[in-house]
């Protein structure tokens, strides 16, 4: 893919410039970033080139990685998914059936999600620009009574109740724990990332293939170790399947069939409870 971009622009060496800073803080997550990139295509969202979009996103993440910007897991999961999507789109269409949705279907899903998010943004803008109470429109400034349907002489909202409870439980739980900023990927992190990535990707896939390239180099060892440990746990729970064709061969993962019943289901045996 690098080739594509070198051909097209010829300017991406500039990312080696150490002074270059990537501003990801302004984005509300990977979809927001994608939406922004899509707008630069200056076409209707229903007509965007998903492939070009995926390229732009991966280029962006790549640049961020080169200047060692720490990216939230969300961005990495999206990068992995887009790399996967790209490969699906570039590979000639396979026989349909067992391999889950086609690249076209996945691309349509992405375009739909972008359009839906954009629609919600517009709705939010229209909402906030309405004539709002306390800004454009006002209530009686000097009320003379407060109407309540007087079943209860006391006033409290569910929010009051829940926040009181949450505060109390938190206060009384012993929490004098300060944990130093971690340098390793915890099992929990790895598990979360794996689960989300495999929720999006249905094919057999390897970690090395999609995810690891986007991690900072110094994180790769710990991420691999944690991901492997977490994957075993996920397999045990039936949420994941693992395949390895031989010793030292790549380990393939895919989404599992779901929790396994403790005993294999035996149809029509005369079992009585």
């Amino acid at each position: 893919m690098d080739k594509l971009w070198q051909d097209a622009g010829g300017a991406d060496r500039a990312t080696d410039d150490p002074a270059l800073v990537i501003d990801v803080t302004g984005f509300e997550g990977p979809l927001d970033l994608l939406l922004h990139l899509a707008r630069t295509q200056k076409v209707d969202l229903a007509r965007i080139s998903v492939l070009a979009l995926a390229e732009q996103y991966l280029l962006f993440i790549d640049s961020a990685r080169r200047v060692r910007i720490e990216l939230a897991a969300d961005y990495l999961v999206m990068a992995a998914w887009l790399a996967y999507l790209k490969s699906k789109l570039l590979i000639p269409q396979q026989a349909k059936g067992d391999d889950g949705p086609s690249g076209e279907e996945l691309a349509a899903t992405l375009a739909f999600r972008l359009k839906r998010l954009e629609a919600m943004r517009e709705a939010a803008t229209r909402l906030i620009n309405r004539n709002r109470l306390g800004r454009d429109v006002f209530a009686r400034g000097a009320p003379e009574h407060i109407p309540h349907n007087v079943e209860s002489a006391y006033d409290a909202t569910l929010y009051d109740l829940l926040s009181a409870y949450a505060n109390l439980r938190q206060r009384t739980a012993v929490t004098q724990v300060t944990i130093e900023r971690r340098k390793v990927w915890s099992l929990v992190d790895a598990r979360e990332l794996l689960t989300r990535m495999l929720g999006e990707i249905v094919d057999w896939t390897t970690l090395q293939h999609y995810l690891l390239p986007y991690l900072p180099p110094e994180d790769r060892v710990t991420a691999t170790a944690s991901a492997f440990a977490a994957s075993l746990e996920l397999v045990r729970e039936g949420k994941l399947e693992i395949r390895q064709d031989g010793a030292f061969q790549p380990i393939y993962l895919r989404k599992g069939p779901g929790p396994q019943p403790p005993v294999p289901a035996q149809p029509a045996t005369g079992g009585v409870d």
Partner: protein, 238 residues
């Protein structure tokens, strides 16, 4: 249930249950307007029905008051099943007060819109739409503002809690009911309020993917910089 039939006179039984007092329609209107006018909070029809002479058609009375106040600087409006007097929206320019309203973050605003248009909606669904986890404090802010509430639980595995908007949300944004949300029908029609891709939603996939299509320009590093995606020469730390 049928207290009739003195044309436009209604009767109200005195608390002590003595002689009923007759009220003219004008009188009933006066009481209704006093009840609503005196309150900063919207007043429910149930509350009004309880206080107005028995047999009053509350809605009809309120509709008449709406007409009477429509041309004035203070209007009678309906929000949900409640009534309130509010200053006329077109006078915003004279009495507008920016200092009073809190600024919502962009994320909070987006979450609010998603809850309003998709309700009842779970947190996982909100995150699916936004493609990002909801940071702590976002829902919190919306609940504290009194615009968002826990509604119940979805009858699906895991029984996730669903979120929705409150009556105060309607009041704050000047909506009579949720159906008045701007653009609701079009969004629904376009299938954008559902979790599934609407039938017929398709995007063209370029055949020769390595080449840019006619309406595309190659993107360059420079473009990214211009767009503020890459800021050159910033200090390289967060």
């Amino acid at each position: 249930m049928t207290p009739q039939e003195d044309d436009d006179d209604l009767t109200i039984a005195d608390e002590a249950g003595e002689e009923p007092v007759a009220f003219s329609l004008a009188e009933v209107e006066r009481i209704a307007e006093a009840l609503v006018f005196a309150s900063a909070e919207p007043v429910s029809e149930a509350f009004l029905a309880e206080r107005l002479p028995r047999g009053t058609n509350v809605n009809a009375v309120m509709q008449r008051l709406v007409e009477i106040y429509a041309p004035r600087g203070v209007n009678l409006i309906r929000t949900g099943d409640r009534w309130a007097f509010r200053t006329a929206a077109d006078l915003s320019f004279v009495i507008r007060n920016d200092s009073e309203t809190r600024k919502l973050s962009r994320a909070a605003l987006e979450v609010l819109a998603i809850i309003a248009y998709h309700q009842p909606v779970t947190r996982a669904e909100i995150e699916e739409i936004r493609g990002v986890q909801t940071s702590k404090g976002t829902l919190d802010v919306l609940m504290e503002a009194g615009w968002v509430r826990f509604r119940g639980r979805r009858r699906t595995p895991g029984r996730p809690v669903t979120l929705g908007t409150t009556p105060d949300f309607l009041d704050h944004f000047g909506l009579e009911e949720l159906r008045d949300l701007p653009g609701l029908e079009e969004l629904k029609g376009a299938g954008l309020l559902s979790g599934r891709i609407p039938p017929g939603f398709a995007i063209p996939i370029p055949v020769n993917v390595d080449e840019l299509s006619d309406d595309e320009d190659p993107i360059t590093q420079l473009d990214l910089e211009e767009l503020g995606l890459l800021t050159p020469g910033g200090d390289a730390e967060e």
